[in-house]
Symmetry: C2
Subunit: 307 residues, 2 copies
């Protein structure tokens, strides 16, 4: 029966550390039981491209059908041609801003519907599975164990808040209000003369910058109001969140996912993905004594067998 707990995790130091934390957390006050997970590369596959990026490129292709002029926008031309050199030169931030404009003036409900439509049909280019099925089974098991111990489980993503909110309940059982990400600002449209109610429309502005690095910490505080005692991440953008969670009073756990599994997923952490001049997140983890998940060794299974 005990085998049912973290069933996809292989025995070893990492699983032991997680189980020890789960046990000790049961005696903590409820308000302290907050767990924050990064999403891309921590809860689901982020290679070869972010799912959100795939979504926006798909939306671009749809938009071009009704407005061919969009194909002449330099950022869009590079994306549609798959011109990696041009994309690299422009930078992801500039491209992301331009893509965000595709939904400027749209309602939150329309954006949510578009995200759900995309994730209902898109497949991964090399794994051949539906994109929505590329969540890590062992991490979903961990979320279930935390929740069974009355943790409030939150997702703290560098991606768009509303993008993830559209699917967070379905994928992870996490309601929209527990998703902290890069927030798009809204314009308020007052009640019109005909008496219908007011409305909100998306802008292309970010409320508080990209949700990476130190912003993950300040945004957790402003949006959730509680300091997590558990955090999981896989990149330099998660470092401050992990440090903040790990340095709290009482029992804490900082967990780093190491993508070292070329056979079942991808092998990339700590090399090209490392931010220049920053320490690789696995090196930070080693220095601080955080727990590191080797996908190749610690996980018996990465994805659901039947997607």
């Amino acid at each position: 029966m005990g085998d049912a707990v973290l069933a996809s995790w292989r025995p070893g130091a990492t699983r032991d550390a997680v189980l020890a934390f789960l046990e000790v957390a049961e005696s903590l006050p409820l308000e302290q039981r907050v767990a924050c997970f990064d999403n891309d590369g921590t809860l689901w596959c982020e290679r070869p491209t972010y799912v959100q990026y795939d979504f926006f490129v798909d939306a671009l292709k749809t938009a071009v059908l009704s407005d061919p002029g969009l194909a002449a926008v330099p950022e869009f031309a590079a994306l549609l041609a798959g011109d990696r050199a041009a994309i690299g030169e422009m930078g992801l931030e500039r491209i992301a801003h331009e893509l965000t404009r595709l939904f400027e003036g749209r309602s939150p409900e329309e954006f949510t519907a578009r995200v759900r439509d995309f994730l209902g049909r898109a497949t991964h280019p090399t794994l051949g599975r539906p994109l929505r099925s590329n969540t890590y089974l062992p991490m979903r098991e961990l979320i279930a164990e935390l929740r069974a111990r009355d943790f409030t489980v939150c997702i703290v993503t560098g991606g768009g808040t509303e993008f993830l909110r559209a699917v967070s309940q379905d994928l992870y059982g996490v309601p929209p209000e527990n998703v902290v990400g890069s927030l798009i600002a809204y314009d308020f449209v007052p009640t019109p003369a005909d008496g219908a109610g007011p409305a909100l429309t998306r802008t292309a502005r970010l409320v508080a910058g990209a949700n990476e690095g130190p912003n993950k910490v300040t945004n957790i505080q402003t949006q959730l109001g509680r300091r997590p005692i558990f955090a999981a991440g896989n990149s330099g953008g998660d470092r401050e969140m992990l440090e903040w969670a790990a340095a709290g009073d009482g029992p804490t756990l900082a967990l780093v996912i190491n993508h070292d599994d070329a056979d079942r997923e991808f092998d990339y952490l700590g090399t090209a993905e490392t931010v220049p001049d920053h320490e690789a997140i696995t090196d930070v983890a080693a220095r601080r004594g955080w727990s590191v998940v080797s996908m190749a060794h610690d996980w018996d299974q990465v994805f659901d067998s039947s997607p």
Copy 2:
């Protein structure tokens, strides 16, 4: 047995409307079951002064003991002298900003502890009850009924987010992440050389302005990510939130609290509190057919009998 539902509400059209909404809401998808309550004057007493205002004045008196120079700051001098004319001339916004500076540089944990300490000991000047006991019993009953129907219950306050978060779980069973208010920005203090973790300190800046009027709508969307189908308020600052909730698809309920009970609480709505050039919220309610709670007639009991 049925009497146990909304036991402090007297039979009548308002209670009937609430019960009808509760019944129809049971068949809605879970993600639509979101309820947003204003706090001051909707869930607890806001007269003669806001509880948050009482807290800050109390904190000012404590601060002056160790730093007497603070008493010379014009805003503080007016507050300490109870100089209503000077306070009125300066305006609440300017006073509030100066009071916020009392906690500049402090940690979120310290601020939370101070709020809890204050509400553990402060009493109402005329009702003679502990301030923390001045929540409206019928509204807590309504929250319980919504929660029993799997609503996500949120508080959307014009006051400080962190002020209310410190006590929202205790007072209403609402966790910090479901409180939307006027958000103070934080400064991020990186991990120091000695290896301890990073920290957050309070600033005196607001992240997205005061949480009133249209800002209540945009902030609900950015912080909760869901449009409420139920909203309750009592002032012009709640109007847009009420309109937004009421105009949604499917069954909705907009509830306005009318303070017409000078004997048991206060009598003030629709007169001096109305924002200049704006329609009184009770008039908006009448025009739109929203439900209005007459505290004097619809509530059998206002507060707990034994605080």
